[in-house]
Amino acid sequence: MIASPDVVAFTKDDDFGDSYTDPCLLPEEFSVPLFPHAANANPWTKTSYAKFSKDFILISEFSEQVGPQPLLTIPDDPRVCGTFDLNYFSLRIMSVDYQASFVGHPPGCSYPKLNFVEDSKVVLGDSKEGAFAYVHHLTLYDLEARGFVRPFCMAYISADERKIMQQFQQLSSGFSKASESLKSGNRKAFANELEKKLQDLEYTRSVLHKETELQKMNNGCYSTQVIEKANELANVEKSIYEHKDLLRQITSYPNRKRDTDHVQYEPEKPVETSITDHTFPSTHSINGDKGIETDSGSQQLSYTPQLIKAKSAKCFDKRLKTLEELCDSNFFPQTMDQLNLIEKTFRGDLCFISTSQIDQALLSKQKITSFLFEEERDWEEEENSRNLYDTDHNPHIAPPSVSNLSGEPMSLESYATCVEISPHKLDLESMEGPPESSTSDITQETSEEAVDTETKGSFSSDRSIEALGNVSPANPNSFVRRSTHEVCTVTLSVHQGDVASETAPDKNSPSLLDVNTVDVFETDNLVQIDTACCMGQDGFIYEESLPEPVQQCGEDTVVKQEPLSLLQGDPALQVDYIFGESALPLCSSLGFVLPEESTSVLSEEMVRMNVEDVSDCTSYMSTSTSSDRAGSPFTYGSLITLKQKKKAGHSALRFIRQYPFAQQAIFCILSGRTLVVLGAEEGTVRKLVNALSIFVPNLGKYGETVQPWLTTSFQLTDLHRWKLIGLQRVASPAGSSMLHSLSRYSRYIGILDCDNKTLRCPPYKGTLLGHMADHRTQIKRGSTYYLHVQSMLTQLAAKAFLYTFCHHVHLPINPDDQGSVALRRTNFLLQLGFTEEESQIIQFLSELIKQNFFQWPLKGLGQSVFSFNYTTSFLYKI
């Protein structure tokens, strides 16, 4: 890649006065060299020289038996890591000096002492591998481990070092939460284990005591067996004492930490002892002097105390506990949940992440208007989720679906739940193919490059690891502060001159030292990054993977779905829903229709367009056969995601292309007049409602103001509550009462008839909505159109804000000039460039803003007001 200083130099040298050349044409020698990896359509991706395709999280352990070993990656997909050597990298990140080493017998103390060590956070770079990592070290307690500690580390590995550096605080905060959760669970598990062990020891002591007494009686006081038994007894006594001390230490931890005061330990459930792949039975074990403690070859699963045999010979076969076993069963899934959240949050390009963060920070300051059209990000929910990890959890908070992430085999039920809940996610994410084919070329090249650079002798493999930053482990909460980057100490262990600038171009630049070049926002504002919009590393993965979407609909893909929100509806309900129709046919048909040539040079946009179209078609097709739910992701009571809104944007695009009176319909919605979508077929109606929902002001977090499918007649209060209604057209006599309510309340509603393609609503002749809903629009993609609409709606919201909070418009100059206020209001809106009709939109939005500002109670709907106006409706036809 060409660096910007180079370009500047070239233009300086250019002689302008020579002869006329087309200034637009760059001489051939100055032309920018093509991006070396033509197959890689995204020139911004930094992974071209890395051996992995996208960022991932690695958890490694420094095993006392086999040394550093990788345990698991998130996402748990071998394709993500590609040919990246996890073992090697584990060695790297675990070899950073970590202060966990002094656990055990401190000098001058006869009893083992637990150290509650703070986590350490380090940034590492391995230019040879093209990998940069935020590394979070932590220790967990294990009764059977040497010194009772097991060192672990969690690493966020990315090819973009600037991403690591700039997002350091967010990463740190995220990983601290995960670590806290893991450690809390570990403390609980450790305490349980100690208690069981104590019971065992007590039991052993009583047995030994009896035996000693017996032998004393039989053999006399000074026989060797008796002495042996007495020694054994003494050992057990000592061991009991030590264990009690340990238990005291571990349970006294809550007193040291404010947030664990409320720990309510649940009745203990036995820890699963399933053998997982992560543990390798070791033949080599360093057996400490505390023979009795470490020699219990088997785990105690129950409360029944067991006799502990002294000095078991089987100590070398000791199997260390897995990470999951080390942690209480309730906490581990939550930790994984948090890690998955981190992975999702930081997915994609740095630029996008930063923009989203800025966006979010700005939005949080605009609560007065942001409720109108912005995606509702619930701030208190964020708080809740933070509390979930800060304080020790109540286990019942954990949703059942989260446990899917812990790697347990999923039941059919939970599998179906996943599919049901995010049907639209599926069609994009299922496209995620194996990147081996695409990345293999690159990795080969990169390795060649690496070989090249290595043959130059510029650096040895030892030096290719740089500890770029080492943040002293402070109180994790302090990472909210903006000043931690000053704490960073850089220990460059490289000969700087030797390092090829290609592999680490910015290594010496000061920006690297400056962890925070951008403003650091509140660390809890973690952005949910949407793959559909993200240009980053996810992009090119899709490309070559299209031929095999069917296989990818398998369980493998589904497991990696994002964890369900805690607020999602009752899973059992959703399961019922899905059993009516299978999800898999949708996938397979989707895959079947996919064009074969998309594997070749089609850009990802094109491919995605196809995917969207196809999925739209399938949802249309499925309507005829089954009760359609694919057409509408807006199930009442479930959280509306940005993704669903973008999906709706696609439907909306189709709507405005199909219906010439789309502007009138949108005007109806924006001016607060309830739009009733009338149709006989549920799928069509739901689809239209879904499409139009992106225009509904104050949609609500769960889409409360939209009723996608109504089969009974509605009341006046319903019109008040719902601003967009999908209504079933019934031919039976029952339908006549519905039609009666339609005609009766016709002055309050607009009626869009799907079947006859007509619209009955007040006229709109302005130009404003023409920009929003031009049926000859050049916009091709649903998500683009959604963003277009969103930007226009934001402008409207801004105008409404201006109108609402403009003093002179609303305040009477003297007490008896109410009339002039009305006049000034009208004139103000005219000056803003709104026609009389468009003024209604602004006025409606303004009323919503006022209502929101006063926080008028929403509980009793009778408390809020319903405005309307008397205008003649017209009937529009295609």
Partner: protein, 448 residues
Amino acid sequence: MLRWILGGRGSQGGFEKSAALCIGEEQPKNRFTELQVLKGHFDIVRFLVQIDDFRFASAGDDGMVLVWNVETGERLVELRGHTQQITAMTTYAFIKGGRSHSAIITASSDRTLSLWDPDTGNRLQTVSDLQSSVKCVVVLDHLDVWLSGANELCVWNRDFQLQCKTVHHSDAGITAMVSLSKNCIAAAMDKEIVIFKLNLSEVETTILAIRHLADHQDTIRSLITINDELFASGSHIGELILWDAIDWTIQAYEHILWEEPTVDSQSEIRMGQQSEMSIQHMHSDGELLTAAVGSGLYVYHTVKKSIVAYRKVAHDSDILHTMLLDNGRVMSCSEDGSIRIWELQDLPLAAEPASSGFFGMFGTFGRSGKQAGAPTKKLLEVSGLRSLELIGDLIGHSGAVQMFVNFGVKGLVTCSADHLLIVWKDGERESQLRSLALFQKLEQSGGL
């Protein structure tokens, strides 16, 4: 008009309105552009009374009395105590401790009477074990007593002590009462109006029937005071009689017959309606009187003793309540669930074809010879006959609208058989008020 909704699935006559009354959706004179639905009752809401300039009480068949704030729509207190439907409700103002209080008197089918404090929701007084359920209550402020009308007429003082009562009259009982001058009370009992005289002396209070007016041919449905000189009564068959309030003589007699002039097919459709001429409700501002006659409206000038305007079919079904507004407008609500606002307009020139509602208005027949002084006039000879033009309708209730209370600029409250109350407001004014409140709050909090 709405046939297109049905998608050509055949005609339906069930809810088509008569074309003459369809005002359409363009209503520039209708200022009610905002509504607020008040929920709280569990059965038909029949009564509304205004307590002061911002509070009102509602009561109905669920036996509950709810007090509301008309400005905010807030439910202030719930007055619970009656076990059966409320049959009458009125406000009662009294002076206590140098301060004027307003209270509510309610009567219920459970044969109790209660006095409520709308500020606290307490039941101040209660009377039970009545022999019959009270149908009407009248407060005589100047005497500081109040009267309840059931099968007998009872007189009560402020402390709910029975002062005196009349003998048992008939099974029909007293359905309406008005207070006249000279401590007299007119009470409607079936076809009769009975004038009672109340004698208050130091020792005891007595009440005596002094006159029976039996000029109505059918049951009296409505009895109102017009002014100090006149009161009016209306019967089930459309007789409207104006009485002198002092000597109880007939001042005017109108028999309203909605006669159908045309004999086309429509007449058989409207047979059912035609026979309905019952005067359900009347209201007067002292000069004009408006009467709800079946589903039609009738405006009468009580000084000129002449008809001012009328409309034979003002609603699709019976009008339950009507009111003269101060700006020459008439409001009516009906069993069809709508409220309509009418304006008295001068008729167009006689040469022009009149509106369809104009035909068939020759329905007022004088009953000449029967009573002296009863005017007999042909309608067309009446100069200054005006028309009632529909200028707006309020649609929202899904059941019969029982009655309404007008709060002027603050809005209009309607109650209905659909258990709901609706406050109709001027949207423009409310929007301005909200803006003012917004800036007040901004000032208090010192900015956003």
